[in-house]
Structures are given as structure tokens and as C-alpha cells.
């Protein structure tokens, strides 16, 4: 662990000012960052603790809720409004990590957790994300957990968050404070980026830009989140899926699908959405949507199975949801 300074700040302004320089980082729950620091994967010289900033409230808005970035994963999952209106989010949160980790992990920090690629974690192996230009040992190595969509020749890592997949599926907006002052709003599906030539950059936040809130809009009527994993708790997703939609006269309206465990970012299945939007549910349609989404999917060897698995999951999940809805109707 590299020596670092630690400080707490009074407000957002002080926080962004303190982290605007190189090698400074915000500390939320620390459930990921501190581990990474111990193993010298992250080597910040300055840590600014933002977990005590006044962002621990969940407020009701006109059509949804506004979640403070310091709200813990446990608190968010247990929130009565979240459970009632956004069960997809609550399910996703509860499927992640363990109770102890969720008690510490924050909403803002969850978005910014780093990949679990084993080569990223092993400082003795080549990883472009950890050490730009060093290469990628996951390619041609152990890559069962790796990306099938949007990967590059430089990086095939996946984003590990369940919560972020849920937020993308729900069309959440992320509010930030900028280091130079001012605020901006970023759609959740635009926060993270694909690896391309710069896999060391996970997201589009500027140095020192602080997530303060996450806004959820009108809750879709039908929602689901499903995580596929190797054991029934405390396991990262092999793949996962979030689906949210309304129905208008038996046709999909504003359908959104988020996929986890398949890409460098929580993957918005825009191609599948396009196939489904405005159409009446049918098995053939679901298969067409899954095929459209996975048309360019590419396996790396160990993870080849994720392509048929994801296809099965998309089709089965849509069938289950629409069957449930039909039964209810």
C-alpha cells in the first residue's frame, strides 16, 4: 500500500476541489477501493472521504425519487418506495455482494467499482486497464467471466455491478458536481465507456467530478432483474438482465433492457429494444430481439457459452414477464 493522505470535507465544493488534482480519489464505502489500494492496483496519494457528505437521503420527486450518492446499498434496497416502485433495483442490489458489503457500499461508489478481471487484480500480469500499454493477459488466458460485447483488442474486462445494470434499465440520471463548479446530469447508460484504446478509463467523469445523486423517473409498470451466477450468493454475475416496460394495448411501450456481465459497461440492449418497441409480445419476436442484440457477440474461448446463455436468458425472461402479465390480466 502506497502512503496516502486522508481527509474529510464539509461540502461538495470542498470535495471536488480536494480531488481535482492528479492522484486523488473520493472514498465512499471503500469496499472496492481499499482492497485495490492494499494490492497496489490503485495508488492514490490523496483520499477524500465523501461518505459523510449530506447525500444520505432518498427524496420523492414529482414522478420518481432522487437518491443521495452516499445512500448505502442496504438502505436503498430496503427503501419502501424502491421496493414498491422499482423492485428491479431492489432485486439487483440484493443480488450483489453480501449484507456486510452492502452495509458499507454506497450508491455513487457502486457505479464506480472496478472490474473483477483476475488479470487486473494481479499486478504481476499484463493489464492495459491497470497499466496502459502493458497488454492484456486475459486474451488467450482465463476469460470465462469476460466480455462478449463491445470488447477491444486491448481489454475484454466486464463491469461487475448489478446496481448499475438496474439503473441503466430504469433510465436513471446521474447528477454530478463538476470540479470547476456547476453541475451536470448524465444518463446512467452514458456514464461508462467501452474500452477501445483507453481501457484504463472506465467512465466519462472528469477528475474530481463527484456523483451527488441518482434520479429515477416514473416507474415502469413491468420490471424484472435476474442474475445468473455460479453460487447462490456472494458471486459476481456470469450474466444478468434487467427488463422494464409499460404496455399500451398489448404492445411494448418504452421497453428498456440492460445486460450485465457481457461488456465493459452495463450494456443497454438498444438493438433488442428497437426490435421489441411497439410490438406485441411473442416468442418469435423475443428470439429476433435476442439475435439482433447478440449479432456481433464474440467469445474469447472460456466465455463462449455466454452467447447462447444470454440468448436463452433474454428470451426466457421476456417470456416469463409477458406470461405473468397475461395471467394477471
Amino acid at each position: 500500500m502506497t502512503p496516502f493522505s486522508y481527509s474529510r470535507v464539509a461540502d461538495d465544493k470542498a470535495a471536488v476541489a480536494a480531488v481535482s488534482g492528479e492522484n486523488a480519489k473520493f472514498l465512499g464505502g471503500g469496499t472496492n477501493l481499499v482492497d485495490l489500494m492494499k494490492h497496489e492496483i490503485e495508488r492514490p496519494e490523496t483520499l477524500v472521504d465523501v461518505s459523510r457528505l449530506p447525500h444520505e437521503e432518498i427524496e420523492k420527486t414529482k414522478d420518481g425519487i432522487r437518491i443521495g450518492a452516499a445512500v448505502t446499498n442496504s438502505a436503498l434496497a430496503a427503501d419502501p418506495v424502491v421496493r414498491e416502485k422499482y423492485p428491479l433495483l431492489s432485486t439487483a442490489l440484493l443480488s450483489g455482494a453480501t449484507q456486510q458489503l452492502r452495509n458499507r457500499a454506497t450508491t455513487g461508489g457502486n457505479f464506480l467499482q472496478r472490474t473483477r478481471c483476475q488479470y487486473f487484480y494481479d499486478t504481476q500480469r499484463a493489464c492495459n486497464k491497470r497499466e496502459p500499454g502493458s497488454g492484456c493477459d486475459a486474451i488467450g488466458g482465463l476469460n470465462r467471466f469476460h466480455a462478449i460485447l463491445g470488447a477491444s483488442e486491448n481489454c475484454i474486462a466486464v463491469h461487475p455491478s448489478d446496481m448499475a445494470v438496474a439503473m441503466v434499465t430504469l433510465g436513471a440520471d446521474i447528477e454530478t458536481v463538476l470540479p470547476q463548479g456547476g453541475v451536470r446530469t448524465i444518463p446512467a447508460d452514458a456514464l461508462h465507456r467501452l474500452p477501445g484504446d483507453t481501457p484504463h478509463i472506465d467512465h466519462q467523469l472528469a477528475q474530481g467530478e463527484l456523483i451527488t445523486h441518482v434520479v429515477l423517473h416514473k416507474a415502469p409498470e413491468f420490471q424484472m432483474y435476474r442474475k445468473v451466477r455460479d453460487r447462490s450468493s456472494y458471486a459476481f454475475a456470469v450474466v444478468s438482465i434487467g427488463i422494464a416496460f409499460d404496455l399500451l394495448e398489448g404492445h411494448f411501450l418504452k421497453i428498456r433492457i440492460g445486460l450485465g456481465g457481457v461488456a465493459h459497461k452495463p450494456w443497454r440492449a438498444a438493438r433488442a429494444e428497437e426490435v421489441l418497441e411497439g410490438k406485441a409480445p411473442s416468442r418469435a419476436l423475443f428470439e429476433k430481439a435476442a439475435d439482433a442484440e447478440l449479432a456481433e457477440a464474440k467469445g474469447q474461448g472460456d466465455n463462449d457459452f455466454k452467447i447462447p446463455l444470454m440468448r436463452r436468458l433474454i428470451v426466457a425472461s421476456l417470456m416469463e414477464m409477458t406470461e405473468k402479465q397475461e395471467k394477471a390480466a
Binding site: Q118, Q124, L142, R231
Partner: protein
């Protein structure tokens, strides 16, 4: 038998006597120990390559760091005997030299040890050590180097590397039903909750280590053989151990390194391996490729068995796992052939992990037996009953006791076995499977000392360890019942080489061997007390020592009583010693513990995710010494079996010889939610050929057969045989029904 009445304390579900200490954080594990002198902290710098020679090492930046007291490398490490030498006493006692030369032995091998005032200082300075290594090509995988495979000198737990009875080829050729398969099992790590940890301190040539180790006697020899000192000058203290599972049988890398650090600084040095260290500086279970061929006649009687095993062994560390061991003792057959080969590799020490041999052997063999039963069209339980041997299939010796039939039949009854059921419940494919469990019952040498103080308190001392199994408790029960005193008046002291030497914990032999030593010591003490009583008062002459009891500060027998203070020489308590060793029954008889396990699994029809729904195990482990701790042992073993079937694997990148999933987020063991209600049943018994207590080994029995029962249930659920472990969802992808189908 009257001597062994099934009443009294032995067998009772007594709570762990050290439980309150553990749950209140007062049990001093190795890294908790604090001596008079403040200790320093050591941090290991691991090699990034698996094989090679260090060409240069620059420690200046590390040495310049605040708090750093020393950096140990091969250039300044204390004098040692070469690694692997003095191996006569076995691998645990051989030299475990570290950094003796510039040689790198495996990936993660310590190339430097930074010793500093605090962990943070040591850890940071360690990152500044610059090392250059001339890398050489290493051997990491037995299969690609099969042409270099050799017959090991011996197997772990068995001198017979290969066996052959009858004419396999002829019988297999004639067999009406033939099945064959090639299986793969992975590297595993025991991943004990407490990592390997040591505090070492030198006083001249005398070394004291507080460490987490299962067998102290061999550990003491290992230090002596490494540093070329007298074993009597080594003291090991290990009162509490946070899980061993074989991974702490001997000394591991941090222990030798702590001694190096202490030597160089003149201060006590503590090293607790961090979790990633454990995967390279602790031992692993080696991977196996197993080829099996089984034949049965038209009546469903097994006629031919062939079990061929290939594995890997760390260079200069002779451990070859006897994966075909369960095969040799399970079923009657006309012909049987077993064979083990190993490739020497450049990997961290491959060593025992819970039920070495049987854990991986039953995984494959019992899976293949299931396949043969199906091929014969016979129910798997009936098939096993039908093939029960009358004598040991390999040696031809009689069994000491064997209640396998009862295990199978009672297991079937308790589980509600109706054959390998296969049904669908919504999106779940349900399957039932079962397997037999077998594990050799061993006995080793052990000594114990027992002392009765004048106030009637009994103290037992021996260098046995309690690795979480309940040793303190069962030894308390044995001492209390035998002495005729309530357990509150007994103190058991373990884990110190100053106490009489025992076999330690391992191979499921600890309870029987050391329990017998305590039992014998207590008996001897009572006889001595009676002799003394008869001297003091002739009325005591001819009394039966078995009826003697301790009553406060007196010995008592019937309505007679005498103060203990009058029996001694006035210098304090009265003590006696007892010893245990394997009897001739271990030569003339085949000794095993047995069991049968039944599993219900659910496979997700969409994704192939496998979830265990219930697991029932019925076991024959002779006399149960403590119903509660025995049950916990069996449950723990069964949970290990769940992991072996569905989760546990240390993934090695064979390009580098590097374990990649070196933490407990990535190395999956079964978590609470993966463990359904476990039904554990023990068949009451008493094996008079095993030891005077009538017990048989239990610590590893539960893992045996649990994994294959699950795998066989997966087959029932999906119709698909998977011949690799752990079984993952992708292995079933092609066997799943179409969506909505």
C-alpha cells in the same frame, strides 16, 4: 465390552470447552500472540515468474523506508540445509529452506521479506524491492508433460503405488456391461479462515515459534532440519488453529521466513500471510486426470475395475495423492488394477487437503459406479449393496467393522430414495443421486500426560492440536469419564512441543490416537493412585481402579475416601503418562470408516445453474466421541463436498504457472445459501479393532461421496454426465431443454 459402557460423558454432545474464548475473541491464535519484546512485521515479496534464477535484487529503496528494519533475500538469509534434504522423516520434517539460493521454485515464491515496525510500512517497502530474474520454462500441467511422468516412491497414506489383482483385461473383455471415462479435477486450496501465520523469535540458537500448524512434532523437526539445529532447541506453540484441512499439516513459507527475519533483526517477527499469499505460499490440492474402466456381468456384479491416475507433484516435495485409494476398498470384483503417476512441476507445494485420495477419488469412481449401475439397469443403491465385498477387495484382509450396507439402506430410507428420480418443477429440473463414502481409518503414535492436583483438578497435556474439530472437548470428555470426575475439573492443554509428542491433527487419526493416549494416561494414573492409597491405608488393597473416582480433594471408591494430598510426596500433584500406537489389527485387518450420501439437486432449465436442495448422509465411524462436534465435522465435510462438486477450483494460467483467483470472492466455496438443510445420521457402533475407545476417523468422512452424489443427481436431472469438476452451468448448456419447452 463392560469397560466401554455407552454411558457417561464420552459421546455426549458437550459444548466446545474453548467456545467462550473463541466467540469472545480471547483465544490467542498464532498472529494474536504477544511476547515481552515488541515484534516486527514481515511482508513477503513474491516472484512474478515460476522458475528461474534471481540475477539481481535491489533492496535499497525498501531499506530506506521509514520503519524498515531489514530486508531478507537470498543474499543475506541465514544458513540452511537445501530444501528437500533430510527427507527420511517425511515431507513435513524435511528441510523447508527458503531463499537459500537465488533459485525461484514457483510463482509467488518469496524473493524478499521486508521486516518493519508496522504492516503498512512493510507492505509499502515491499513494493519498492526491484528484482530481476532469468526466467526458465516451467512445468505446470501434468497432461502436457505426461511423457515425463514417473511412478512416485509412495503414495500419501499408502506404500502401494500400483496394484493388480486378477486379470483386468480378460475380465473387462468378457464383461456384459462396460463403462469408461476420463475425468478432470482441479487444483484446490483449503482456504482456511485463519491464514498461515507465525511469530518467530530466536534466543541464541534456540527458536520459539507461535504458529498455526497441525502437527507440532514434525514441524519441530522441519525447523531443525532447515536450520541444522537440535530439535530440542525448537519450541512450537499452537494452541488454537482457525481451520487446517491439511493446509497446515507442516510448516509453510511464512514460518521459515519469520525465523529468517527474527534472526536478522534480533527481534520477534510476525508474518500473517494475506489471502493472496495463501494461494502461492500455502499448499494446494493437485489436479488429477483419472481414467476409469469398469465392467459388470449380466447379473450386475462388478467383475473388472481399472483406475489410472495422473497428477503433479511440486519438485523436491514428495506428495502423491492416492486418488485410487477408495477404489481399492469399495466393491467386490474379479479383477482390479490401480495406477498412479506424477509429473514433477514448478508449482507451489501440492499437499494434503481434506480427505486426500478419497475426496477426488470418490468424485470420479462413485460417478462411474453410478454409470455402471445405469448400464446394468440396476438401482444405484441396490447395485452397491449387491457388490458389497466380504473382505477387502485389494488386500483380501477381513474388515474391522463395515456397516456400508446399513449406511446405504438407512440412507435410502431417510432420504426417501425412490431411484434416481428425475422430474420437472416449473423452470427447475430436479434429480436425485447418491454415492457411497469410504475413508481409511488410521491410528498413529501419541503420548499424553495427566496430572491430578491435590485439590482434585485434572490437567492433561499433549502436543495435539485442535484445528476447530473439537479436540479440546473430546479429550476433556475422555479424561473426565476415565478419571471419574466432572468435566469442569479437567483442563486440557494442547499445542506446545513442551508437552508429550503426538501425531497431531491429520488424516482423521487425531481423535482416536490422542484420545487413546489420554485414556491410557488416565487409566495409569488411577492405578497409580490405588497403589498409593493401598500404601497409605491397607483397606484399599485389591480395589478395582475402574471404580475409582475423584471427589473434591479426595479420591473415592464406594464409601471409602482419602485426601489426594496424602497420596503424593508432598511436592504437589500426581501424574502419569499414557501412550497409543497402532495395534496389530492395523496389519491384519482392513480398516475404514463408511457412509452413504443422497442428494437432490435442481438445475435451472434456462441457465443451467445448479443448486443443491438437500443432502442426506449416513455414516459409520465407530463410536462417536461427541455427538455435537462429530456432527459438525460431518456437516463441514459435506459442505466441502458441495464445493468440490460445484464450486471449488484454483484456476491456473498455464502460460505462467499462476493461480489467478487468489481471493475468496473469486475462489468459490459454498456460502450459507448454497447449503440447504443437511441431514446427518451416525450409526452407533464400537470398533474394538480400531482403538480402546472404539472410535474411527470422522474428520474427512463427510466430504467423501458428497460430491459424486451431487454429480449423479445432476445426471438424473439433465441426462448429462459431466466428467470434470467442479460442474458449471456451461457444462450443461447443451443438455438443457429448449426455452419454453
Amino acid at each position: 465390552m463392560s469397560e466401554h459402557e455407552f454411558k457417561g460423558l464420552i459421546g455426549q454432545p458437550l459444548d466446545r470447552v474453548e467456545g467462550p474464548l473463541k466467540v469472545s475473541g480471547r483465544a490467542t491464535y498464532a498472529a494474536d500472540w504477544r511476547g515481552d519484546k515488541p515484534h516486527l512485521i514481515g511482508f513477503i515479496v513474491e516472484s512474478p515468474v515460476a522458475k528461474g534464477r534471481i540475477t539481481s535484487i535491489d533492496t535499497r529503496a525498501a531499506e530506506a523506508c521509514e520503519g524498515v528494519k531489514a530486508v531478507v533475500t537470498h543474499e543475506n538469509a541465514p544458513k540452511q540445509i537445501p530444501f528437500g534434504e533430510r527427507a527420511k522423516g517425511g515431507r513435513f520434517a524435511q528441510s523447508h529452506a527458503m531463499m537459500r539460493t537465488n533459485e525461484v521454485r514457483h510463482l509467488g515464491y518469496p524473493v524478499a521479506l521486508v521486516v518493519a515496525d508496522t504492516l503498512e510500512q512493510a507492505r509499502h517497502a515491499a513494493s519498492l524491492v526491484k528484482v530481476e530474474i532469468a526466467a526458465e520454462e516451467g512445468v505446470f500441467d501434468p497432461e502436457t508433460h505426461e511423457d515425463e511422468a514417473v511412478k512416485p516412491d509412495e503414495l500419501d497414506g499408502s506404500p502401494e503405488v500400483d496394484t493388480e489383482t486378477g486379470d483386468f483385461e480378460a475380465e473387462y473383455e468378457k464383461a456384459a456391461h462396460r463403462v469408461e471415462g476420463e475425468f478432470h479435477t482441479p487444483h484446490q486450496h483449503a482456504a482456511a479462515m485463519e491464514p498461515h501465520a507465525t511469530v518467530a523469535e530466536w534466543d541464541g540458537d534456540k527458536l520459539t515459534v507461535h504458529m498455526s500448524i497441525q502437527i507440532l512434532g514434525d514441524g519441530r523437526k522441519a525447523f531443525a532440519n532447515t536450520f541444522d539445529i537440535d530439535p530440542q532447541d525448537v519450541r512450537i506453540v499452537s494452541p488454537y488453529i482457525g481451520g487446517g484441512f491439511g493446509s497446515k499439516l507442516g510448516v509453510h513459507n511464512e514460518a521459515i521466513l519469520a525465523a529468517h527475519g527474527a534472526k536478522l533483526t534480533g527481534r520477534p517477527v510476525r508474518i500473517a500471510q494475506h489471502r493472496r499469499n495463501v494461494f502461492s505460499n500455502g499448499p494446494n490440492r493437485p489436479p488429477h486426470r483419472q481414467r476409469l474402466k469398469l465392467g459388470a456381468d449380466a447379473n450386475g456384479k462388478i467383475v473388472a475395475i481399472d483406475h489410472d491416475v495422473l497428477s503433479i507433484m511440486a519438485r523436491d516435495y514428495p506428495f502423491a495423492e492416492a486418488a485410487a485409494s477408495p477404489t481399492r476398498g469399495s466393491y467386490a470384483t474379479k479383477a482390479m488394477r490401480t495406477k498412479h503417476r506424477v509429473v514433477e512441476g514448478d508449482i507451489p507445494k501440492a499437499d494434503s487437503m481434506r480427505a486426500p485420495g478419497e475426496a477426488v477419488g470418490t468424485l470420479t469412481f462413485e460417478s462411474m459406479i453410478d454409470e455402471l449401475a445405469h448400464s446394468c439397469g440396476v438401482d444405484p443403491v441396490e447395485f452397491r449393496v449387491r457388490n458389497e465385498p466380504e473382505k477387502d477387495p485389494h488386500s483380501g484382509k477381513p474388515f474391522s467393522t463395515r456397516k456400508m450396507r446399513r449406511c446405504l439402506q438407512e440412507g435410502a430410507e431417510k432420504f426417501g430414495w425412490k431411484g434416481p428420480v428425475s422430474r420437472r418443477e416449473g423452470d427447475w429440473l430436479i434429480g436425485h443421486g447418491m454415492a457411497a463414502a469410504i475413508r481409511p481409518n488410521l491410528m498413529q503414535k501419541a503420548e499424553a500426560e495427566i496430572e491430578l492436583s491435590t485439590d482434585g483438578h485434572v490437567t492433561v497435556r499433549l502436543d495435539m492440536t485442535d484445528i476447530g474439530t473439537g479436540t479440546y472437548t473430546i479429550l476433556t470428555q475422555i479424561a473426565a469419564e476415565t478419571m471419574g470426575v466432572a468435566p469442569e475439573y479437567v483442563t486440557v492443554k494442547l499445542g506446545d512441543t513442551d508437552f508429550p509428542e503426538t501425531c497431531g491433527s491429520g488424516g482423521s487419526f487425531g481423535a482416536g490416537s490422542t484420545g487413546t493416549a489420554v485414556f491410557e494416561a488416565a487409566k495409569a494414573l488411577k492405578e497409580d493412585l490405588l497403589k498409593r492409597a493401598a500404601k497409605a491405608d491397607s483397606e484399599w488393597k485389591g480395589a478395582n481402579s475402574k471404580e475409582l473416582r475423584i471427589d473434591g480433594a479426595n479420591i473415592a471408591l464406594g464409601n471409602r475416601s482419602l485426601p489426594i494430598a496424602q497420596l503424593g510426596d508432598g511436592s504437589g500433584g500426581i501424574s502419569a503418562k499414557g501412550a497409543a500406537k497402532p495395534g496389530k489389527e492395523y496389519k491384519t485387518m482392513a480398516q475404514y470408516s463408511y457412509g452413504a450420501q443422497f442428494a437432490e439437486v435442481a438445475v435451472d432449465a434456462v441457465t443451467g445453474e445448479i443448486r443443491l436442495r438437500r443432502l442426506t448422509g449416513v455414516f459409520d465411524a465407530g463410536r462417536i466421541l461427541n455427538e455435537k462436534t462429530a456432527r459438525s465435522q460431518l456437516m463441514g465435510g459435506m459442505i466441502f463436498g458441495i464445493g468440490a462438486a460445484l464450486m471449488e477450483e484454483s484456476l491456473m494460467d498455464l502460460r505462467y504457472g499462476a493461480f489467478m483467483n487468489r481471493d475468496l470472492a473469486e475462489y468459490h466455496i459454498a456460502v450459507n445459501r448454497d447449503v440447504p438443510r443437511l441431514d446427518v445420521h451416525m450409526i452407533e457402533g464400537f470398533d474394538e479393532n480400531s482403538n480402546p475407545l472404539g472410535s474411527k476417523g470422522i474428520g474427512e468422512l463427510g466430504i467423501c461421496g458428497a460430491g459424486p452424489a451431487i454429480a449423479n443427481a445432476v445426471f438424473a436431472a439433465t441426462g448429462h454426465r459431466v466428467r470434470k469438476y467442479p460442474i458449471h452451468m456451461e457444462d450443461l448448456m447443451d443438455a438443457l431443454p429448449p426455452i419454453g419447452g
